[in-house]
């Protein structure tokens, strides 16, 4: 009879939140890195860039572990595809953080004083979305308790809406920022313009992937 308890396997939700922890370690480095970037202190960045690299690698390890333990024969309250999608999208956040860290550390790019506060608030908004996603991930356990229904699910749905709003706001800030940059284009060298555009894209990608993660949760709840 004791053999029947082999029917239980390791919960993928616990591992998903472990993965999220590593993703968040990448996210946490972005704000200090951007502070260094706008102040032109590229030479101070190496430690933070390296720690993003490490955390991203660890996240990848957890990702492979989850995929290994998720054979087709596993039965979960949410579809296996949704779990894999969630994992992929969480991982995207870390990837975009890494991209951003490389873009800002690869070249010493002078930042105009007029643009500094806008760039920082743009980054902050984008990171706010990832902060909320972390909260979402922490709530998964409570969702599991109520089998993805009831007031817990409603709270999570509200959080998902909020993340969507934040993402919309980052897009608006980005549009204004890019516009402002082109107004000042005579003061910026063309190479820097290209790089700035790439950096802004990377920052908005972080918010985009956060929204994608949130939407995967929505799919899980509305199943």
């Amino acid at each position: 009879m004791k053999e029947i308890y082999n029917i239980f396997t390791k919960s993928p939700f616990a591992q998903l939140s472990e993965h999220m922890d590593y993703v968040h370690q990448c996210v946490e480095q972005i704000q200090p890195l951007m502070d260094l970037f706008v102040n032109g202190e590229v030479d101070q960045m190496s430690a933070a860039v390296a720690s993003i690299q490490t955390a991203e690698n660890l996240a990848d390890t957890v990702k492979s572990k989850i995929r290994e333990h998720l054979p087709k024969s596993i039965f979960m309250p949410v579809s296996r595809e949704d779990v894999l999608k969630l994992l992929h999208r969480q991982d995207n956040i870390a990837d975009h953080c890494q991209d951003l860290s490389i873009l800002i550390s690869v070249r010493s790019t002078p930042v105009l004083d007029e643009l500094k506060p806008d760039i920082l608030s743009f980054t902050q908004k984008s990171l706010e979305a990832t902060q909320k996603v972390k909260e979402l991930s922490e709530r998964t356990q409570a969702l599991m308790e109520t089998s993805f229904s009831g007031p817990q699910a409603e709270q999570v749905l509200a959080l998902i809406e909020e993340i969507g709003d934040i993402e919309t706001q980052t897009d608006r800030i980005k549009y204004d920022l890019v516009k402002k940059m082109f107004e000042l284009e005579s003061k910026i060298d063309p190479v820097s313009v290209v790089l700035f555009l790439k950096i802004f894209d990377a920052i908005s990608h972080i918010a985009d992937s956060a929204e994608n993660v949130a939407n995967t949760y929505r799919l899980m709840i509305s199943k």
Partner: protein, 425 residues
């Protein structure tokens, strides 16, 4: 020819084999009922062993006899052995021995086999070598096999319904703690009602306490309602002790944790229900063949209907308790550590589904597998989105065990039969 000069020896040997079988059942099977409660720290290991012992024993003694009839007489027609009762006697002994051996082998290899399947396989094996395929009542066999398929489904459906209900009205409510106070007593009532009904309605035949159906329902209702009120009182006392600061938000995780804590007690109740149902269902595997042997020895002939002596039921119950005490605690301990995934609300739903199915099948005289019914029930909870992850390859193992256990039991039974024939004839 008929070795009545050695009846005492045969009686003792049968008693030992029967006890061995019951010991095996107690050592391996019982743990499932109590493992969850030990795992959630609701019971200590010692308490679990004692409670399981008492309930297995009462299940075996009060409800056990119905299934024994089907196992013993249903598959083969005893009249075929009227001319030579010794063959039937040895056959039943070898079936018991084979089933017990197979159980131990399977336990060693970690296969989820059923005691019921082992004994049925063994009886079929003996029938094949003694009277040939024609002597086996295949319609009864197919009916039994059908019940194996049906019972996990039924367990799953009941567990699914109960858990969906708990999820919708308790876990998913605006105020889970108040909902528990309001609704949990009804669950307690339901469990007590079914248990009483089963025990009283025909169940207490052994004590000659036959009540009519109406009387049994009434008694069940009375006991159920009383238990419901007692449980409400206990739950409200528990709720009063909760720190109100902890519950500023009514549908918070803290509230859900308290609900789970309250359900620990309901889970103990459902675990008792499983132990009781298991005693009722599985003890027959050990005592059915034993009763046949004893009746042949005492009368010297094969009779159509023999009452199972109370002391045989007691012996079966005692064997289970013995197995539980000597070996079962280890299994309970292992399981208890392993299943933190099955929270009390889930555990309650799964155990309720399994126990209800087993008890109903037991009343209908169908020998079903406790193991597989419980697996079905856990899957039922899983289908209600209640379990984080289940390994469905377990279902494949169960199907495999259906295909392996019957032939293995049959083969071992044939071997034992030849050996016993050499010894006693």
């Amino acid at each position: 020819m008929f070795a009545l000069d050695t009846p005492t020896i045969i009686l003792i040997v049968t008693g030992i084999i029967g006890l061995y079988m019951a010991w095996n059942i107690g050592a391996n099977d019982v743990a499932n009922a109590m493992g969850t409660s030990v795992g959630s720290k609701a019971l200590t290991l010692k308490q679990a062993v004692i409670i399981a012992g008492i309930l297995e024993f009462s299940g075996a003694v009060f409800v056990g006899s119905h299934v024994a009839d089907t196992v013993r007489k249903g598959i083969i027609d005893p009249q075929l052995f009227a001319a030579d009762p010794m063959i039937l006697l040895l056959g039943m002994m070898s079936a018991l021995l084979a089933a017990a051996m197979w159980l131990q082998i399977a336990t060693y290899f970690g296969l989820p086999v059923s005691t019921t399947h082992s004994i049925i396989g063994a009886i079929i094996g003996f029938a094949l070598v003694s009277v040939g395929a024609a002597g086996v009542d295949w319609s009864v066999v197919s009916q039994i096999v059908m019940s194996w398929v049906v019972s996990p489904f039924m367990g799953a459906i009941i567990a699914y319904t109960v858990f969906s209900w708990i999820r919708r009205f308790i876990l998913g409510s605006r105020d889970p703690i108040q909902a528990t106070l309001k609704l949990a007593p009804f669950l307690v009532m339901l469990v007590m009602f079914i248990m009483t009904l089963v025990m009283v309605f025909k169940g207490l035949k052994q004590l000659h306490l036959d009540l009519s159906f109406e009387a049994a329902v009434q008694l069940g209702l009375v006991i159920g309602i009383i238990s419901g009120f007692i449980s409400r009182f206990i739950i409200s006392r528990y709720i009063k002790r909760i720190d109100p600061n902890e519950l500023k938000e009514r549908a918070s995780e803290a509230a859900l944790n308290h609900v789970e804590k309250i359900f620990i007690y309901l889970q103990i109740l459902s675990a008792c229900f499983v132990a009781f149902a298991h005693g009722a269902n599985d003890v027959a595997n050990a005592i059915g063949p034993m009763a046949a042997v004893i009746s042949i020895i005492s009368t010297g002939t094969v009779q159509l209907a023999v009452p199972i002596p109370l002391w045989v039921l007691v012996l079966g119950g005692a064997g289970i308790v013995l197995g539980l005490a000597t070996w079962g605690w280890r299994v309970i301990e292992t399981i208890g550590k392993k299943i933190t995934e099955l929270t009390p609300t889930r555990g309650f739903a799964a155990e309720f589904g399994a126990a209800t199915t087993i008890v109903i099948a037991s009343k209908l005289g169908l020998p079903i597998s406790t193991t597989h019914t419980l697996v079905g029930s856990v899957l039922g909870v899983g289908m209600a989105r209640g379990v984080a992850s289940l390994n469905l390859s377990m279902v494949r193992n169960i199907l495999l065990s259906w295909f392996v256990t019957l032939p293995a039991g049959a083969l071992l039974s044939i071997l034992s039969f030849w050996v016993l024939k050499l010894v006693f004839v």
